[in-house]
Amino acid sequence: MIARLGRGVPEPAAVGLAALVAMAVCAAAIGENPLGLLRALVLGALGDTEGLAFTLYYATDFIFAGLAVAVAYRAGLFNIGVEGQSLVAGVGLALAALASGGAPSWLAILVASLAAMVFGAAWALVPGWLLARRGGHVVITTIMFNFIASALLSWLLVDPMRAQGSMQPETRPFPPGASLLRLDDALVVLGLSPTGSPLNASLALALAAMVAAHVFLFRSRLGFETRVFGASPTAAHYAGVASTRVILIAMGLSGALASGVAINELLGAQNRLILDFSGGAGFVGIAVALLAGNRPLAIAPAALLFGFLYQGGAALGLDYPRVSPQIVTAAQGVMVLLIGGLLGRRR
């Protein structure tokens, strides 16, 4: 796996190390013991089952988001709108889940997940369509669509979808059937002690999506056409690849993959629709995809690295109240800048 990441792409380990060094320097700058801080970070993320489970829970989001970015990137489309796509996917998921009362659990989950994918894909298809038909630059339109999605979600939760009498802009809880199997529930049934994390079956879904994305890109004819189009739209035209079709399929798939974030967060953890539930996973996905060189199978380790940083950073807060968990965001920024600088432009 590591070997496949080669070709000038820095390995997650190396970049992760750079991020840790950056954090240690920051910590030292404010007079904290950098080694102690790193220790707390590592132990917090990997030291016990709870930390590990949270790391995997965050990584689940990042796998989905990373795949969403990577699939679009392979078609030459820089989809910065994964965040917005996952938010809108959440709306679809919530509508279906809330309506699923009385349905058997498997059906509720299936319908809610499909609704999420359809909504996520649809939200991604609009910029795709604007590009294919009207030449609207996809980077800018997807950025704009993030904000529009966020405003839309906020309006929905403040007004039509808000739970009666709730203080919060959120829907009422989903019916009990509309929730994914949690690791903790399984552990309890087995008589083991729970981890206290919302880690759930979406991780398996994420890994399956990863393999599916790999097969799609590297084994299917459509995936071949997608990659040809991404590498050279002119050659794709020559090869009889219909650009509109490829753009729409790639953006649709990207949006559908983005909906995985909604599935993990809403069906797996929150069991209701809340504001900004994706918590920036869509943006982390860009870094994950880049770090993985847009190779689907390399996305899991990259996502794991970011999950580790997230959970470790959160755990820091317990032992180092002076150290803002935002230090992790800063370290990620340094990492991404390094990746950007080392990678150069690939197209």
């Binding site: 920051c26 700058a29 404010i30 820089f78 910065i80 910029p127 604007l130 009207r134 030449g135 609207g136 630059h137 980077v139 800018i140 339109t141 950025i143 704009m144 669509f145 904000f147 529009i148 405003a151 839309l152 906020s154 309006w155 403040v158 007004d159 943006f283 860009i286 870094a287 880049l290 002076r322 150290v323 803002s324 935002q326 230090i327 992790v328 965001t329 800063a330 370290a331 990620q332 920024g333 340094v334 990492m335 991404v336 800048l337 990746i339 950007g340 600088g341 080392l342 990678l343 150069g344 432009r345 690939r346």
Partner: protein, 300 residues
């Protein structure tokens, strides 16, 4: 609307436009030179934080402003190094700058002031105060900067080279101009203006720094830039329009409009983004970015 209401609305529109104008012109400098910048937000945050933090520590608004500009330009220099020297992907670098800006300001702020990343509220002498029609020097300065930008862009040697660097850097290189120097200078000016934009938020408008206080203004500025088709005069006008929308939203919140009823605030918030998408999709006449924007330049 009564006369004083109109004046007060215009005053609010001017104030709310100011950070957008600086940020939008910052993006204009960078992108006209061929360097796409989605990292305006991060540099604004850096400027806002450094300005407020230093003003709080020294009690001097002048030093605060200088610090805002210095912090933002430092970030811009790092970004410029990766983008211009290493040929790094400009969109990736911009995203990275946003992360660094958001993370470092919150982190350093928390460590310095132990107020969860906020700076203490600034006393009057550490703030940029209004002095005429409820407006302050930064707001007036924004108009000056727009004029200067237009002048430099269209009337000076540097401006000509900057436009060439954004349209066809090879031509500039072959003609004996330095693409590197031009782009570095443009990115530096971009940093300077982002610093002023951030300073306006924390020193003039809010009297202190709050984590993530830019709240997407860097991206609104980007939207305005597209809307203005990368021209300084139009950028000024678009930012005033967006600021006016914001002021209108504040004033109309919850108040029913004739025929339309109560418009959700979110609709106002989304409007600039929607307008940009519509424009970009060529429904209102296309917006063509500088031809070489986004492309690192390397000599063959």
């Amino acid at each position: 609307m009564a006369m004083e209401n109109i004046l007060s609305f215009l005053g609010a529109a001017l104030r709310l436009s100011t950070p957008l104008i600086y940020a939008c012109l910052a993006g204009l400098w960078s992108e006209r030179a061929g360097v796409i910048d989605v990292g305006l937000e991060g540099k604004m945050l850096a400027g806002a934080f450094a300005g407020a933090a230093v003003a709080a520590l020294t009690g001097d608004v002048g030093i605060g402003l200088a610090a805002a500009v210095a912090a933002s330009m430092t970030l811009a220099a790092a970004q410029g190094f990766v983008e211009v020297e290493r040929g790094g992907d400009q969109i990736v670098c911009g995203m990275a700058v946003n992360m660094i800006g958001a993370g470092v300001t919150a982190f350093v702020g928390a460590a310095l002031f132990a107020e969860g990343g906020r700076t203490p509220a600034l006393p009057r002498e550490a703030r940029v105060l209004p002095f005429v029609w409820g407006q302050d020097a930064l707001t007036l300065g924004a108009f000056g900067v727009a004029a200067i930008t237009a002048f430099i862009l269209y009337r000076t040697r540097f401006g000509l080279r900057l436009r060439a660097a954004g349209e066809n850097p090879r031509a500039l290189d072959a003609a004996g101009g330095s693409v590197r120097a031009t782009r570095h200078a443009a990115v530096a000016v971009c940093g300077l203006l982002c610093g002023l934009s951030g300073a306006d938020l924390s020193l003039a408008q809010a009297a202190g720094f709050l984590p993530a206080m830019t709240a997407g203004k860097g991206f609104i500025a980007l939207a305005a830039l597209v809307f203005a088709k990368w021209r300084p005069g139009a950028a000024l006008a678009t930012c005033l329009l967006f600021g006016g929308l914001d002021a209108a939203a504040i004033r109309m919140e919850g108040a029913p409009l004739p025929f339309l009823g109560v418009i959700p605030t979110q609709a106002f918030q989304a409007l600039p983004y929607l307008m940009t998408v519509v424009l970009l999709a060529g429904f209102v006449g296309g917006a063509r970015p500088p031809a070489a924007a986004g492309q690192p330049y390397r000599r063959e």
